[in-house]
Subunit: 400 residues, 2 copies
C-alpha cells in the first residue's frame, strides 16, 4: 500500500517540475545555497592531486578523512564519543535505512515508529515486510506510556525508529526528557534505537538538544546523518554511526549493496569540508529558511480558516498541517494542482494507521512571494471544500 503511495509522490514530483507550479511537495534544499564554485574547485584539486585514487574502487567503509571529519563533527555538535572507525559512509542516508532494514528485519518483525513517520524509512523498511507499530506523539516526542505498552505487548520488536530533530513530516523536535525516557525504555527492553538526524544542524532558534546516541546507554543506538541538507544532496553522501558490534554487520551488507559509495563524491566532499568553513554555509541556509518559515507561518495565520492547525517548527524544512476532520487532503491536492500548487498528503506518512486530513508543507525550496501566493491559493481551495461539505451536509439534513 505504501509502495503505491511512494509512486504517488513520484507523480506529484513530476508535476512540480513544471516551472509555473508552486511546490511545497518536495523535500528539496534551496539550490541557491549549494557551494557550486567551491565544489568545482575542490573537484579539480582532488583530480589533480589524487585522480587515480579518486576514480578507483575504494574501501566499503568510506574515505578515511571524511569518516574522521564526521566523527569529530558529531562529537562536537551532538555530544557523542565516536571514533572514525565507528562511522561508515553511505550512498545518502536513505541507503543507511536500507542497510538497517537488511541487518535487523525479517518478514513480520516489528518496527516501532513515530506517528506520523518519515516516508523514506517506510519505503526502505517495507522491502523487508515488517509490521509497523505507530506510537502517538505530542509536541515533545512519542508518548512514553504508549511506547512502554507497545514494548511490553510486542515480542518481535527489532528497533525503534525516530527522527528527534525537526522531524519529517511533522517538524517536531523531541525534548531532552523524552529522549532520556525513550533510551531508558529501549535499554530495559533490549531494543536498539535508530536515530535519524538529517535536519538537526538547521536550527533557527534555541539550543541544540543532545543526541540520544550521546547519552548513557547510547551504545545501542545506530544513528544516521547526511550532508544533503547542509551541503548538497546531489553528491549522495550520508553516514551510519554506531559501535562496531552493529557496524561490522552493516559493512558486510553495504558491500553486497553497492561495494562502496562514489569515491569521487566522498573525496570532493572531504576536500570541501577541509578547505572551507561549512558553518558559514549553514548560517546562510538558516537565515533563508527561517525567513521562509516565518513567511509561511504568517501566511497560514492570515489566510487559513479556523479549524486548520499547523506546527511551528524550530528548524528543518517542513511544517505539518491538520485540516478539519472529514476534509481529505488528497481531494484538496487535486483541487490545488488545478491552481498549480502542490504538497504531499499526510496519509503517506502513516504506515499503519491513516489520517487523511493531514498534509506536509515544505518551506525551504520556494521564494517568499511564491510561498505567500501558494498558501493563499490553498486557503481558497480549503474554504471552497469546507463550504461544499457544509452545503452537502445541510442538504442531507433537510432530506433526512
Amino acid at each position: 500500500m505504501n509502495i503505491l503511495r511512494a509512486s504517488d509522490i513520484r507523480e506529484i514530483l513530476k508535476i512540480t517540475q513544471r516551472p509555473e507550479v508552486i511546490s511545497f511537495a518536495g523535500g528539496l534544499p534551496a539550490p541557491e545555497f549549494f557551494p557550486t564554485r567551491e565544489i568545482a574547485d575542490a573537484a579539480v584539486r582532488v583530480l589533480e592531486r589524487s585522480g587515480t585514487t579518486a576514480l578507483q574502487y575504494s574501501p566499503t567503509e568510506g574515505h578515511t578523512p571524511l569518516r574522521r571529519w564526521i566523527a569529530t563533527r558529531m562529537n562536537t555538535k551532538w555530544g557523542t564519543t565516536l571514533s572514525q572507525d565507528e562511522v561508515i559512509i553511505t550512498t545518502g542516508s536513505q541507503q543507511g535505512l536500507d542497510l538497517i532494514g537488511k541487518i535487523f528485519l525479517d518478514r513480520n518483525d516489528v518496527v516501532i515508529c513515530e506517528s506520523p513517520t518519515y516516508l523514506g524509512a517506510v519505503m526502505a523498511f517495507n522491502t523487508f515486510r515488517p509490521r509497523w507499530v505507530e506510537i502517538p506523539t505530542d509536541e515533545a516526542g512519542m508518548e512514553m506510556h504508549a511506547l512502554e505498552a507497545a514494548l511490553k505487548r510486542e515480542t518481535k520488536v527489532k528497533f525503534i525508529y525516530v527522527v528527534p530533530n525537526f522531524q519529517n513530516p511533522s517538524g517536531r523536535t523531541w525534548s531532552l526528557e523524552r529522549r532520556k525516557s525513550l533510551l531508558a525504555l529501549a535499554i530495559r527492553h533490549k531494543v536498539p534505537v535508530v536515530e535519524d538526524n538529517p535536519y538537526g544542524e538547521l536550527r533557527f532558534a534555541g539550543e541544540p538538544i543532545p543526541a540520544i546516541q550521546s547519552m548513557e546507554g547510547g551504545d545501542q543506538v545506530v544513528s544516521l546523518g547526511t550532508l544533503s541538507k547542509v551541503f548538497c544532496p546531489g553528491l549522495r553522501v550520508g553516514w551510519l554511526a554506531a559501535r562496531r558490534v552493529f557496524l561490522d554487520r552493516l559493512i558486510i551488507v553495504k558491500q553486497g549493496a553497492d561495494l562502496h559509495s562514489s569515491t569521487f563524491d566522498q573525496m570532493v566532499a572531504s576536500e570541501y569540508l577541509e578547505s572551507y568553513n561549512i558553518d558559514d554555509n549553514i548560517a546562510r541556509i538558516i537565515v533563508a529558511y527561517k525567513k521562509r518559515r516565518d513567511v509561511m507561518v504568517r501566511a497560514l495565520e492570515l489566510e487559513m480558516p479556523r479549524g486548520v492547525k499547523f506546527s511551528h517548527p524550530e528548524g528543518g524544512l517542513f511544517l505539518w498541517v491538520e485540516l478539519p476532520p472529514g476534509i481529505n487532503s488528497r481531494t484538496l491536492l487535486k483541487r490545488c494542482l488545478e491552481h498549480d500548487v502542490a504538497f504531499v498528503p499526510g496519509g503517506s506518512f502513516f504506515p499503519a494507521h491513516n489520517r487523511e486530513n493531514t498534509l506536509r508543507l515544505n518551506f525551504s525550496n520556494m521564494p517568499e512571494d511564491r510561498i505567500v501566493e501558494g498558501i493563499r491559493r490553498m486557503a481558497t481551495a480549503i474554504k471552497a471544500i469546507m463550504r461544499e461539505t457544509a452545503k452537502a451536509e445541510g442538504a442531507r439534513a433537510i432530506v433526512e
Copy 2:
C-alpha cells in the same frame, strides 16, 4: 559461509594496499587509463552550466541523456532494441544485483548460476538467503543438459544468472549457440535470465557475440552494465536494462535503496561521453590489457609445473587457474603472501559446491615486469608444496 569469504577478500585487499605486494587479487582496472583530465574538465563544465541541477536530488531512474546514451550504445554493440525508458542508472552494477535480489528472491528461492560464478553476485543475493544451484560449465558456457535437468527438477527457480563475456572469475565467453539454447530453455520454463556484462567491451580479439537480451524472446532478460571497466569505477555508474514490466518494480526498490545515484557523477559521466570518444579510451585499455594477458599466459606456460591448468581468456580482466587435485589454493595463498604475492582462492566463487584447488588471477592492474615476477614466485611456491605433498605421501607409503 560466503559472507565470511567476502570478508576474507577484504582482508586480502587490505594486504595488497602495501606497495611492495604484487597483487593479482583485486578486480581493479588500470588507473593509468582513467581519463582524469577530461573528467576534471567535464566536472567544471557541468557545474558551470548546470550546477544547481547537478548538486540537487534527481529522479530515481537516472539522468535522461545518460540513459539515452546507454540504450544507444547497447543497441549498437549488443544488438538490443532498448529505448531510454528501458534503462535505469544504478550505483555501480553491484547495486543492480542487489535490486534484482530484492524483486525476485525470498528465502529458499533458487538461483541458478554458472560454476564458478561472480562473488559480488553471491554477496548481493545471499542477503535474501536463496538456495544456489550451480551448473557445470565448459569452454562454451553452461552445460545445457545439466541446466535443463535443474530447470525440470527445481520448482522455485527465480532466475538464471550468467556473465556471458569474459566471466569473472573464469574468463570464459559463451558461444552464440549456447546463448540461444539457454534462452530457449528459459522461455520454455518461464524463468527470467539475468545477463551481467561488465567486461564485454574489453575484447582483445575476435568478434563480439550478441547479447542474450537481443535475441528472440529476450524480453525476459534483465541485463546489467557498468562504466567501471571502460571509464572508471570511482564514479559508481552502472545500469539495469529491461522491459518496463521488470523495470517498474526495480525503480520502486531503487527508490527505497538510495533514492537515486549521485546526480553529479551521472552528469559528469554523461558530459564526458558526449564530449569525448570513449572508444579511443577503450582502444588504449584493450592494447594494454591484451599485452598483460599475453605476458601472464607466457609466464604461466614457462614457469608452472605440469598439472597446473589455466584459461586463455579473449578479453576482460581475469584468468582462471586449476591446481593439481589435493593442492588447496588457500594454503598456497598463505605461502605466496609471505613472498608478497596475492590472488583470490577459487573456493569463494562456488556458492554451493567447492573446489579448493582453483584460483583467480587478475592481469589488468600490474605492470608487465611485476606480472612475470609474481608468476615466478607463485610457481616456486606451488612446486614447493607439490614436493612436500609428494614427500609426505612417500613417507606415508613407507610407514603403511
